[in-house]
């Protein structure tokens, strides 16, 4: 089956993304396809390339990225939720006069329409929020 995930919590501050990641691995292990992960609300912080956890802890951004590389899972981040929270890509940084950015591929900034499309397109749609 095709699965879509909605993740609405920040790493370390919230168990939601940690649960979502474990669930994603289990979905793939059972032979399903992960059609996409959408990050909304505080979940946008999962995409931060500046995330710097202590060395003995998992870097959640790297874990999502690895999932993308192994299974080609799209990682979409709500642009409105992200900008408010200080998560910007190169184009948005330029547009708003920031000299730096902290979101890059495979994460993509996109609109909420993408969330609805994912929900419609998938056989199963599971939300992770705490």
């Amino acid at each position: 089956m095709d699965y879509g995930l909605l993740v609405m919590g920040a790493p370390y501050s919230d168990p939601a993304p940690h649960s979502a990641l474990r669930f994603a691995e289990a979905v793939l292990a059972r032979g399903h396809r992960l059609a996409g992960v959408f990050f909304y609300h505080d979940g946008v912080h999962n995409a931060s390339s500046l995330m710097t956890p202590p060395q003995d802890e998992l870097n959640l951004r790297e874990a999502w990225k690895a999932l993308h590389e192994r299974h080609d899972v799209p990682l979409d981040v709500c642009i409105a939720a992200a900008l408010r929270r200080g998560i910007v890509n190169e184009a948005e940084a330029a547009r708003h006069g920031h000299s730096a950015y902290n979101l890059e591929a495979p994460f993509e900034l996109t609109g909420l329409g993408q969330l609805l499309t994912l929900q419609q397109r998938c056989d199963r749609f599971i939300t992770f929020a705490s």
């Binding site: 939601a16 289990a26 929020a129």
Partner: protein, 96 residues
């Protein structure tokens, strides 16, 4: 049939709300902070019999509540079982 996923403690507003949404035949899966419900076999969701209630084993064990759930004879599923539940239920709603 809907799979309801509760992620907050049984004393939370969300726990009261999911009870209003549950229908006969549904399944309620307790994950994250919701596994604290293992401590209290008198909790209203445990004492009803119209829907199924399950604890996520991984989260239960991480919180050191595995033995207590066994003592209270509460049913658990592991992460693979969680995915199986989503296969069986076309619809899922998360309460937080």
């Amino acid at each position: 049939m809907t799979l309801h996923i509760l992620t907050t403690a049984p004393t939370s507003d969300a726990a009261r709300q999911v009870e209003q949404a549950l229908n006969a035949g549904d399944t309620l899966l307790l994950i994250e902070a919701a596994v604290n419900a293992a401590l209290n076999p008198q909790w209203s969701c445990w004492t009803q019999s119209t829907y199924t209630v399950l604890l996520l084993e991984d989260d239960l064990v991480a919180r050191g509540l595995g033995d207590i759930a066994k003592t209270h004879q509460l049913a658990t599923v592991n992460m693979d079982g969680f995915v199986a539940l989503t296969e069986q239920h076309e619809q899922s709603v998360t309460w937080y």
